[in-house]
Subunit: 145 residues, 2 copies
DNA sequence: AGCTAATCTTGAGTACTTCAAATTAAATAC
DNA sequence: GTATTTAATTTGAAGTACTCAAGATTAGCT
């Protein structure tokens, strides 16, 4: 299931190393993982690696576009395998679970701000915050915007 | 121009202290400021305060809803005076400048994801990334998604 | 197999933020 | 106006996420 990981590295001009394949492999299994999670997944298989190396690898992969970095309020950065669609994320307020969301309402209405202040808009990120099904039962909270 | 700051604190059940008024006053002047910026603005007027106190105050103000915390990739958190509309932000890739953007395209299309994975959606955050007018002249970069 | 540049390892260090205990100040009651 | 009570601030320490840099190692090429 992790076929082509080495090919993707080569095509991006990166050398194929055990660490990079392991990080990519982890992201195949865990769609949204932070650096620490990835480290704990691969550490048993790569005894000599470290959390710094994982950050290093993730930076490299992000730089060449194999991986996408997602930062959300008050949590460590998450990484996901880059898919070239413009999907977004929904995050659970309670447990922090992250799910992908296809771009809202048909086309991509969110890609054009009504007033860009003269900015050249390059991309738009949409993050939904809410309560995941598992947490909905436990509490019904304030619905402030 | 900073009339009503003390009233807002009282209405939120917070005691009116010099530090809180100063932080709110700073946010009136500087619409998007991080904790460090706020500290440097108020430090000359409140010699005994500290960056930790500023964080403390900002947390209190955020908790009661007087201030909104905005986190963006790779930068310290920014704070702004809460306005109860659902406006969003556009951030410059180069200089980090932040501007407000009214909610895209008329109503609030972004508040309903096409597939919520069963989440109870509470709010949506839209962040636009681009190049501000000042930086546009210097470089025309890659326009990746 | 040998060379070279890229990559990893290791340790230290930085930025931002949080925590906790003692001090201080604001709001209320007197 | 003063005392009381409760909340807020100060101060120091610590934690988390991440970056930097120097030397050791390894992938990919010839």
């Amino acid at each position: 299931m992790r076929s082509g990981l080495t090919d993707r590295l080569k095509q991006s001009g990166l050398k194929v190393t055990a660490g990079r394949v392991a990080v990519l492999g982890t992201l195949v299994e865990v769609p949204h993982a932070d650096a620490d999670t990835i480290y704990h997944v691969i550490a048993p298989h790569l005894a000599t690696t470290s959390i710094q190396s994982v950050h290093n690898i993730l930076n490299d992969l992000t730089r060449v576009g194999l991986v996408r970095r997602v930062t959300s309020a008050g949590s460590p950065a998450l990484y996901e395998l880059r898919v070239d669609d413009n999907h977004h994320h929904i995050i659970c307020d309670h447990c922090g679970k992250v799910e992908d969301v296809d771009c809202v309402i048909g086309a991509a209405p969110c890609l054009e701000p009504s007033n860009g202040h003269g900015f050249q808009v390059r991309k738009a990120e949409v993050t939904f915050w809410g309560c995941c099904p598992d947490c909905v039962e436990s509490a019904v909270d304030d619905l402030v915007q």
